[in-house]
Amino acid sequence: MSSSSVHRLLQRSVGLLHVLAIAIAVLVLVSPVWAQDEIKIGVVMPITGREAKPGQYQREGIELAIKQINDGGGILIKSREKKLPIKEVFYDDGSDQSRSAGMAERAMSSDGVVAVIGGYSTALGEAESVMPDRYQTPWITPGAGATTTFSRGYEFVFGTLSPIDLLGYTTAQYLGTLVDKGKLGKGLKIALALENTDHGVEYGRGIDNWNKEHPGYFNVVFSEKFELGATDFSGLLQKVKNAHADIFLADAHLQDYITMHRQYIQSGMYHQMISYGARGPEADARKALGAATDYIFAGIWWSSKLAYPQVKKFNEDYQAFTGHAPDSWYPATAYDAMRVLAQAIEHAGSLDKTAIRDQLRKTELKNSILPGQVIRFGKNGQIQGSFVIVQNKPDDKVDIVFPLDAATGESVAPKPKAH
C-alpha cells in the first residue's frame, strides 16, 4: 500500500471518529429527556443473604404496586401534562450493610432515580439512611422500624413501618388486657431476651414504658441481649429458666426464633405466654417447628386477616401476581410505601426531588391496607400506625387477637402446657 493511500485511509478514519463522537455526544445529551419519559424508582432490597426472604416479599409488594399503577397508565405529571410509567431499578444488597449503603448511593448519585424504596431490616435501613439527605433524594423504608433511623433530623428519610418501641408497648398492652379480663394474673414476672440491635433495644423500651405507665401489672425480672445468628442458646435459656418468669418475650429474627424455640422446647421449658416479637406466624417457622409454634403470639404491622375491603383486594391481587398468598406483613408495608410515593409524586406535579419530599411530608394515603387505614408521616418521617397482635392456633390457623375491634378469634391464655 502506497503512503498516499495510507494517508487517505487515516483521514477517513479520523472523519468517521468525528461523526461517531458527535453521535455519542448527541445521545448523551438527549438521553435524560428520554429517561424522563418514565419515572425511575430505585428499590434496594436483600434477596440474597440472611434477610433474603423478607426482602423478596417486600420487593413483591413494591412490584405489585408498580404494576397496578402502570396498568392504570402511570402517574400523572402536571408539568408534562401526561401520565408517565414507573420504571423500577432494582439492587440486591445481599443483606450486607455496606453494600446496602453503596447501592442506595449508586441509585441516588448516578442512576438518576427520583426516589428510593429500601432498607429491610433495621440494620440495613440504618446503613442506607445516611444517603438520602446527602443526595437530596427521597427515601422510604418499608422494613426499618427503629426510631434511631428517624431521630437524626434527616429531611429526606421516611418510613412506613411503625416504631419498634410501639411494638413492645402494644405487646405489653395486649398482655395487660388479658390481665384485665382475668385470663392472666396480676403481677406476673416477665423474662426478656432481646436481639443485640436497635430493634431489640427499642422493643424492650416499649415494654418498659407500658409497665411504667401501668404499675403492678408485670415485673421484668430478666432482660438480656443476644447476638444475631447465634449457634446455641442453651446458656441464655438457662438464665431465663433461672429467672422463674411467668411470661417469656423475645425479640428475634426468623432464624434465631427457629433455633431458640427448638432449644426452648427441647429443654422442656414452659411459660404462660410466649412471643418472639414480630416473628411467629411465618410459614417457614411453622414448617420448621410444627405444632410447637401453636399459641405463640406476635406483634405485627399487618395481617391478611384485617377486615378492610382494600386488604381483601390486596390479598387477591398479591396471590394472582406472585402465585402465593401473603403469609406475613412484609409485602404490605412495601406495597403502601410505593403507593404513598406515587401519590406524593402526583401531588408534586413534577419529578423534582425536593417537591416530592415536600409532598411526602404532608400527603395522606387514605385507603392504606395497614391497620388504621391511613398513612401519614410524622415530623420525623416515620408513620405512627397501630400494630395487630396475632396468635398461632392449631392446624396452621392464625387469629388476630388484638385490638379487640379487629379480632378474628379469642386469645388462648395462659398457653396450654402441652405446648
Binding site: 434477596i47 440474597t48 443473604g49 440472611r50 433474603a52 426472604k53 426482602g55 423478596q56 443483606s95 431476651a193 443485640n196 438480656e224 441481649k225 443476644f226 447476638e227 445468628g229 447465634a230 449457634t231 446455641d232 442458646f233 442453651s234 446458656g235 441464655l236 438457662q238 438464665k239 429458666k241 433461672n242 426468623l254 432464624q255 427457629i258 433455633t259 427448638r262 432449644q263 422446647i265 427441647q266 429443654s267 422442656g268 417457614d284 414448617k287 420448621a288 417447628l289 410444627g290 410447637a292
Partner: protein, 297 residues
C-alpha cells in the same frame, strides 16, 4: 443454679462440641495435607444441608441416614473439585493467596448455585425426633443433638482408625509431617492430596447434613460455623484431629458457661477472644502443647 441445671448445661456444651467437631474436621484434613485453608467449607456445609433436606423431603430418607449418604456423594464431589480446580494451584508449605482466593470464589459460586436451585426460603427438617428429649432423671438429652454427637464421635474414631491402620492414612500422616520425606518413601503426593481433599469435603457435606437437623438454613448458611471452625482448628493445632476434638470442647464449654456470667451478646466475642489468645499464647495449638510436654518428659 441447681446441680441438675449445671449438669444439663454441661451436657448441652458437650453435645454442641460434637456439632463443632463434626464441622471442623474436614477443614483440618485439607489443611494438614495440602496447607490450604478451605474457604469453600461453608459452601459445602450448605450443600450438605440441602442434600439431606432433599433426601428427606423427596424420598423420606431419615436425615441421619441422609448425612451418612452425603459422605460418599461429597467425597466424589470433592475429588472432582480437586481435579478440576485445586490441583492447578502451586503447592506450598504455607497457605497461598491464590488458594484462598480460589476457594473463596468456589464458596461464592456454591452460594449462588444454592440461590438458583433452592431460592431464598429458609428450610428446616422437622422429624418426630426434632423437638424430643431423652429424659434420664433430672437430666435431659435433646435427641437430635445426641444423635449428631454420636455420629460426630463415631466419625472421628473412624477417621483415627483410617489414619493409623491403612496405607492411605499413613500416607496422609506422612504428608502432614514432612511432604518431601513422604515422597522419598513412595507416597503418591497428588493422589493422596486428591483423596484427602475428597475426604475433607465428604466430612463437610456430612456435617452440613447433621447441622440441617438442628438449624434452619438457606444458601447463605454456614458462614458462622466456618468462623468457629477456624477458631477450633487454630485452638486444636492446625493439623491435629485430637486437637479438633479438644478445641471443639473448649469452645463449646466457653460459649455455654461464660455467658452465665457475661451477657449472651458476648458469645461471638468469646470465640474470637479464644482465637486471639490461641494465636498469641499457643501458636501451635493444644497439639503443640502436648508435643512440647512429651519432649520435656
Amino acid at each position: 443454679m441447681s446441680a441438675a441445671d449445671f449438669l444439663n448445661l454441661f451436657i448441652a456444651a458437650v453435645l454442641l462440641a460434637g456439632v463443632y467437631a463434626a464441622m471442623s474436621v474436614g477443614m483440618t484434613i485439607i489443611y494438614g495435607v495440602m496447607k490450604i485453608v478451605n474457604l469453600a467449607h461453608a459452601g459445602f456445609l450448605m450443600l450438605g444441608a440441602y442434600f439431606v433436606f432433599e433426601a428427606y423431603d423427596r424420598f423420606k430418607i431419615d436425615p441421619l441416614l441422609g448425612a451418612l449418604l452425603a459422605f460418599p456423594v461429597f467425597f466424589f464431589i470433592g475429588m472432582g473439585v480437586h481435579w478440576l480446580l485445586v490441583r492447578r494451584i502451586a503447592t506450598s508449605d504455607q497457605p497461598t493467596l491464590t488458594s484462598l482466593l480460589l476457594l473463596f470464589g468456589v464458596w461464592l459460586v456454591l452460594q449462588n448455585l444454592g440461590y438458583l436451585i433452592w431460592g431464598n426460603s429458609d428450610r428446616a427438617i422437622l422429624t418426630p425426633r426434632t423437638l424430643s428429649s431423652l429424659e434420664i432423671g433430672p437430666i435431659s438429652f435433646p435427641t437430635v443433638r445426641l444423635a449428631v454427637f454420636v455420629v460426630a464421635v463415631a466419625s472421628l474414631v473412624g477417621l483415627e482408625f483410617v489414619l493409623h491402620k491403612t496405607w492411605f492414612g499413613r500416607s496422609v500422616r506422612a504428608l502432614m509431617q514432612n511432604k518431601e520425606a513422604g515422597q522419598i518413601v513412595g507416597v503418591n503426593v497428588s493422589r493422596t492430596a486428591q483423596i484427602a481433599f475428597g475426604v475433607g469435603i465428604a466430612f463437610a457435606g456430612a456435617a452440613g447434613g447433621l447441622l440441617a437437623m438442628l438449624y434452619s438454613f438457606n444458601p447463605d448458611f454456614g458462614a458462622s460455623f466456618q468462623l468457629r471452625a477456624f477458631v477450633i482448628i487454630v485452638l486444636g493445632g492446625l493439623e491435629s484431629f485430637g486437637g479438633v476434638a479438644v478445641g471443639s470442647l473448649i469452645l463449646a464449654l466457653a460459649e455455654t458457661f461464660v455467658i452465665l456470667i457475661l451477657p449472651a451478646s458476648y458469645q461471638p466475642a468469646i470465640a474470637f477472644s479464644l482465637l486471639v489468645v490461641a494465636l498469641i499464647v499457643l501458636p501451635e495449638g493444644i497439639a503443640g502443647l502436648w508435643a512440647k510436654r512429651r519432649r520435656w518428659a
